[in-house]
Amino acid sequence: MAENDIAISVDSVSKFFKLPHESNNSIKARFTNSIRKKNKGYEVQHALQGISFDIKKGEFFGIAGRNGSGKSTLLKILAGIYQPTKGTVRADGKLVPFIELGVGFNPELSGRENVYLNGALLGFNRKEIDAMYDEIVEFAELAKFMDQKLKNYSSGMQVRLAFSVATRAKADIMLIDEVLAVGDADFQRKCYDYFKALKKTDMTIVFVTHDMSAVREYCDRAILIEGGHITHEGKASTIADEYLKLFMDKGSALVINEANRWGSGEVTFSDISHKVTQSDITISFTLNNNTDKTFDETIDFGLDFYSEDKLITGTHYNQSHTKGLSLSSKQKKKVISVFPNTLGMKNYSINMNIKTDKGLVVCEEFTSAVNFYNTHGKSTFFPVVTDADFKIE
């Protein structure tokens, strides 16, 4: 890979924090601690250890991890807010971090004055803000309130104003923390629109989150951080799966862990069979509730078609049903799913999964559950239709 393709290069970065046992900030504490030599007065916390990765220019790069995994520390090091204890970070181009919306907002100043102040922190001078001021106000829908003090704004209004300024930021690299997890549905939609727009630009985006649907949807590549180490690096969807696995490990004794099957095991697949004809591909299987629990409209299952490791198409139950599937204690349900055969004449494999709790808990993820060669494949590549007809018996 050519050197100038790299936007951010992180080379064996470690970060240690000294955590004082009690406040060491007073002269008395300094003095007494230096007498009691045995007591170092602090503990060393290894927030990050030997982190190395490269982010290519124009990439939408995800950093996933649980709370306390070190992902926010890493973001702050990338942003230059923290210095790494060891290792180096090189960034090529202008970098703007969004650790939080509305950094530097002052409640005693008017909305207008805060726009200029916040803009200055993002590197805009007065003239530049003058030029975009009307757009900012319009986007925030706050034209009537700009001369009021910020302390009289509702928190929603403050976030809108902050976001509106932030979206003007022009940089080669943007670092985004989970700032967007706030606000009402309408605001979140705006955020996602902004994300989609960002994805189309040639800006490099680094996105720190524990929202796996956002990782799947926006990120090209991602890393997973656990306990200060990178445990996985790769395709966004793989990382999202690995992240969800982290929550499985603590699950009950039901956990299944075969080479290509993992999950909590609460609900599993069995009796999987397939039939391929000229017109249809039919996959039949049974869903087994292995617990005494009742799943009340919370089960979602899906099938993803892969060819040569590329995701071709996929569908899941909730895509065509507004509510999840119900399973009572120890219940089994047979499912027949019929897809129109629009696939090419190639080898295909199907990954199947069962999730509950809005996709947060993976009951089973079965990689390559079905493998087949589509003898009735079309020679020309049809647009793939993903509408499946699920028959539940």
Partner: protein, 268 residues
């Protein structure tokens, strides 16, 4: 050359400007008299000291235009106090910002010092008005004044840099500084003429930059016979001592600040 400078410091300059404007706007917000307070405060202190030390305890009897002399001393001292006091809490007070954004930290300290400079300018206008009203003859020596103000600016700023960085590590600094400044108010010849104290004390006190700057300004502006480093040590070369001290101190405190600025985000 200018272009290059502007490019390199573009972000710092934008920030500095915004922070100074914000500081100035916020300072007297909600008060009825607003900016007038920055004139009223030193004038009120002046009025009190005037009544006490001109009417009751006439310490400045031998000094011509003593009221103007006193006011000038107060204005210089107030500037130094304001910059250094702002300096102590400057970095810690902006901790919220520092933890979320990487920007040149010195801008915060510099901004505090600039907004005090605006006050100093306003106050000096009042001093000049007083001087004209009481018939001070403007001498050629006044031309030194701008250089002395530069020295005052640099010294006060250096103190602010050092204190702001120290306060991040040691939260006792604000109390220590408060006590020190109370002592220094009387250890600096603001009210009394410096030659009214023992010679050995004169020799020490005059070397402190606030005292030296104050006396030099008085000599240049109000009273050519005012005691300075030169007259107290008997040689004009002695003037170099405090100037050299300020220069060395400025370099030291700025280096100290720069070395620790990297870790502010973790420590504030």
């Amino acid at each position: 050359m200018k272009q290059k400078f502007l490019k390199k410091y573009r972000y710092s300059l934008i920030l500095l400007r915004e922070l100074v404007i914000t500081d100035f706007k916020l300072r007297y917000q909600g008060s009825a008299l607003g900016y007038i307070w920055s004139l009223l405060r030193p004038l009120a202190l002046f009025a009190i000291l005037y009544v006490v030390f001109v009417k009751f305890l006439p310490v400045g009897k031998g000094i011509p235009h003593y009221p103007v002399y006193l006011l000038l001393g107060i204005v210089v001292w107030n500037y130094f106090t304001e910059v250094s006091n702002n300096g102590v809490g400057a970095i810690v007070g902006r901790g919220d910002l520092i933890r979320k954004l990487n920007f040149p930290k010195y801008v915060i300290v510099l901004a505090g010092s600039f907004s005090a400079l605006i006050n100093l300018a306003l106050n000096l206008v009042v001093v000049v008005i007083f001087a004209v009203a009481s018939g001070v003859e403007v001498s050629i020596g006044s031309l030194w004044a701008p250089l002395l103000l530069v020295e005052l600016f640099v010294f006060s700023l250096s103190v602010a840099f050092l204190l702001s960085a120290l306060f991040v590590k040691l939260r006792d600094i604000n109390y220590i500084w408060e006590v020190l400044m109370q002592g220094a108010f009387y250890g600096t010849p603001i009210i009394y003429p410096i030659n009214s104290i023992p010679v050995i004390a004169q020799k020490v006190l005059i070397l402190t930059p606030p005292a030296q700057i104050m006396q030099d300004l008085r000599q240049a502006f109000i009273w050519p016979q005012a005691a300075t480093v030169g007259t107290i040590y008997g040689t004009e070369w002695a003037r170099l001592i405090p100037v050299a001290f300020v220069a060395v101190f400025a370099v030291f405190s700025m280096l100290y600040f720069r070395r620790h600025a990297k870790n502010f985000a973790e420590e504030v």
